[in-house]
């Protein structure tokens, strides 16, 4: 009970306190609102003020970050769009809290299913952001979004996302997950080539 322990502890806090100013001077003017500054605050050498000044500056989210899912559509040269989704229903089947609802399109003439969803809903008030739908989708049609700024005043009119609200272009997906996108595109291209070769050999 000599108080030495308390003094040592106070020394630690004092060092931290002084450290914030030292760090600010070292980084004079470059510490906040710059990419370097944020990277420094996320690194092993982070010292001094640790705070990220949201909303003026934002902590970058990593590529794998997942929030609410979205549907990927491709744009053709003529400006028309088509969804990659074939409404196979795997995402709806694998969804742990069962928040995905899909209506499959049927051809009015033949009555047979058409590979495109007529309606697609996700109840955001149930979704648990687990990422299974994106992980098990065989067509790379549903992906996890990075946008987390979704607060609303009324959930009853806003929080069941329909197909229109869920759809985002492929270019958006490529911009938020560049490495995944490139890997998947390579696999897709390979599969296409294999298919074409098979077709050619069958014809020939």
């Amino acid at each position: 009970m000599d108080g030495l322990g308390i003094l040592k502890g106070l020394g630690v806090t004092l060092r931290r306190f002084v450290g914030t100013y030292v760090d600010d001077i070292k980084w004079l003017g470059r510490r906040y609102f710059t990419e370097d500054g944020i990277r420094h605050r996320m690194s092993k050498d982070a010292s001094g003020v640790f705070t990220v000044q949201y909303p003026e500056e934002k902590l970058p989210v990593p590529e794998e970050f997942r929030f609410i899912p979205f549907l990927v559509y491709e744009e053709k040269e003529d400006g028309s769009i088509f969804h990659r989704c074939t409404s196979c229903g795997i995402c709806a089947k694998v969804c742990p809290p069962q928040c995905i609802w899909i209506v499959r399109t049927t051809d009015p003439k033949t009555g047979r299913p058409v590979p495109e969803p007529a309606e697609f809903y996700i109840d955001v008030d149930i979704c648990m952001n687990c990422g299974y739908c994106a992980e098990y989708c065989p067509f790379d049609a549903i992906k996890m979004d990075h946008d987390y700024e979704l607060s609303v005043y009324d959930r009853h009119t806003h929080n069941i996302y329909n197909k229109e609200k869920l759809s985002k272009p492929l270019s958006y997906y490529a911009s938020i997950r560049p490495t995944n996108y490139q890997r998947e595109e390579a696999i897709r291209a390979e599969a296409e080539a294999a298919k074409a070769a098979k077709k050619a050999s069958a014809e020939g």
Binding site: K8, T13, A46, P62, R66, V94, W101, V103, M144, T179
Partner: protein, 580 residues
């Protein structure tokens, strides 16, 4: 404990013919014991065979066969595999002798089985509902009990695809809420229990308090469920004499989210993200235990690299959890926020790694049966290395200097909330709580799983069993975890991360499995029963927080009411796991 030769390899079926027989069902293990001989067998198991640690008590409802089964997992604190005993009892009059006289750690687990399955444990000192409230209609885990939002027995629900016209399920309920009422019920005639049975059991203790000669009065005080130092929605009802605690009853269930009922509707794979939400401070460890249990049933092994990644993630989780625990313990002691802020700073850096690897800060959902979900993205390996080799050791030393010898902390913590080694074992305490009482029992060493037998680390033990030792042991464990991390990161091999192709429909053969891991808070066990269908027949979580809280009353008795906060903080509970 006993200074006598321990019998090993006794065939209980030979020892107790007529009363005990081997469980011969396919995929099952252990013995089936007759209810009337159960106490005798348990006594033998404890005293002669040395199974001094009752890990898990739970029940299974075999519905069409019309019986309930009470399942017990015993272990030796010297290490080794489990002894499984089962008692079967008819469904309409389910009675099983209570194990509380022999193993006090069974108290809350038996209450839970009574609450959710309706197995009446005869001889239990205080058999009340524990997670639901007194008066709730029915025992929800029975297979024929249906929740108000019942759709189908198992997922996936047919209403979602191919004709999934969206609706909110509450719109199909006449009250537009998640409620259902029994037939012939008149709400005006209803007299709510209002914890009458709880107070009655406290009153009994009140009247039995010995008269010290001085004329004193006792008072009952409620702490929680909304209280800043109960770590969530936990409630303690304390009987005070002056400021001294004479009795303490924990009240829980305020965060009972029906993991097990939902888990039995889910498919095996769907349960993985739900396990994240059990102990939400250490989701990777939760994934680990569940993956082990199901892999045991499936009989598959993850590849090398996946094993290493699993260990790395589990140990990072341990560090972040202990940092949070230390921070909030200090908060409870009144060191408002500064230690917590320092601890959270390091935790955030660990969470950055989780976010980069698994996609979410807290709900990682990273493990799959037979591997992990994805490989390390670019740059993460370097980050992990920097943390494990540089940043964390440095910062832990600083935290040590900052807190450990602080006189106020020592005065508040030393000698407070003592739990002896005997009590700790008897109450089935686990994790830091058990090891701070001088029992060197760590599942990573006692019953090694995954690849923990390859790493060099010490099982941290402290011997006083007080709040201070529980703080110290967390510091020790962080250091040991850093040691493991350094070895695992150094040796991380290249290779696949998943055995076989990733599948969304896993085939799990019929049988039972109990997978357990040394989670940061203690022994986390998953008891899974499969009947070959896509959904588990029984999915039970043996949560360390829930079982550790059994010892709370013993630790708190005789201390001042202000210390109860510190004692609770030193157990390190998380409500998501306590109430499930």
């Amino acid at each position: 404990m006993m200074e006598q030769a321990i019998l090993t390899d006794v065939d209980l079926a030979e020892k107790f013919p007529q009363k005990v027989k081997r469980d011969e069902r396919k995929g099952y293990e252990g013995y089936l014991v007759d209810a009337d001989a159960f106490l005798q067998v348990a006594q033998f198991v404890r005293d002669e065979m040395g199974y001094d640690y009752l890990s898990s008590v739970t029940g299974v409802d075999y519905f069409p066969e019309n019986y309930l089964e009470s399942v017990y997992h015993f272990y030796r604190t010297t290490g080794g595999p489990a002894l499984v005993l089962k008692v079967q009892t008819p469904r309409d009059n389910a009675v099983v002798p209570s194990l509380v006289p022999l193993y006090p750690g069974a108290e809350f687990q038996e209450r839970e089985a009574w609450d959710l399955l309706g197995i009446r444990y005869e001889g239990h000192p205080d058999l009340r509902r524990i997670l639901m409230w007194e008066g709730f209609a029915g025992h929800p885990l029975r297979k024929d009990w249906r929740e108000p939002y019942y759709e189908e027995d198992g997922k996936p629900f047919k209403s979602r695809w191919p004709d999934g016209h969206v609706y909110r399920i509450e719109d199909k309920n006449p009250f537009h809420k998640n409620v259902d009422y029994p037939a012939d019920f008149d709400p005006d005639q209803w007299a709510p229990d209002n914890d009458a049975s709880l107070y009655a059991s406290l009153k009994k203790i009140q009247s039995s308090l010995s008269d010290s000669g001085l004329k004193t009065d006792t008072v009952i005080v409620n702490m929680g469920p909304q209280h800043p130092s109960t770590h969530g929605v936990f409630r303690m009802v304390v009987l005070l004499e002056g400021e001294t605690i004479r009795a303490l009853k924990p009240v829980m269930g305020y965060l009972h989210r029906n993991h097990e009922k939902i888990g039995e509707r889910n498919t095996f794979l769907m349960n993985m993200p739900f396990t994240d939400r059990l102990d939400y401070l250490s989701s990777m460890s939760n994934n680990f235990g569940y993956a082990l249990a199901v892999e045991k049933l499936m009989g598959i092994q993850p590849p090398e690299r996946a094993e290493y990644l699993r260990v790395i993630m589990a140990e990072f989780t341990r560090i972040s959890n202990h940092l949070f625990a230390i921070g909030s313990l200090l908060n409870d002691l009144g060191a408002y926020f500064t230690p917590m802020l320092y601890a959270i700073e390091e935790r955030e850096l660990i969470l950055d790694i989780f976010e980069a690897v698994a996609g979410s800060r807290m709900m990682c959902n990273y493990f799959r049966f037979g591997g992990v979900a994805r490989d390390l993205p670019e740059g993460v390996y370097e980050k992990m290395r920097d943390l494990a080799y540089e940043r964390l050791p440095r910062r832990i030393d600083e935290l040590d200097l900052y807190l450990t010898n602080n006189e106020i902390i020592r005065a508040r913590c030393e000698g407070v909330g003592v739990l002896t080694a005997e009590d700790a074992i008897a109450f089935s305490a686990s994790g830091p709580l058990l090891r701070a009482s001088g029992v060197p029992y760590d599942i990573r060493r006692a019953d090694p799983y995954s690849i923990y037998d390859r790493f060099e680390f010490d099982v941290a033990v402290r011997y006083h069993g007080d709040v201070y030792d529980r703080y110290l042991i967390r510091m020790d464990e962080i250091r040991q975890s850093i040691r493991i991390l350094q070895q695992a990161i150094r040796d991380l091999p290249e290779g696949p991360i998943q055995s076989g192709k990733p599948q969304y429909q896993v085939r799990v053969p019929a049988g039972e499995a109990y997978g357990r891991v040394e989670a940061p808070k203690g022994e986390l066990g998953y008891y899974v029963v499969s009947n070959g269908k896509p959904n588990p027949w029984r999915y039970h979580v043996r949560a360390p927080s829930f079982v550790n809280i059994t010892a709370l009353e013993t630790m708190a008795k005789g201390n001042k009411v202000a210390d109860s906060v510190a004692i609770l903080g030193s157990i390190d509970i998380v409500l998501g796991e306590l109430d499930r």
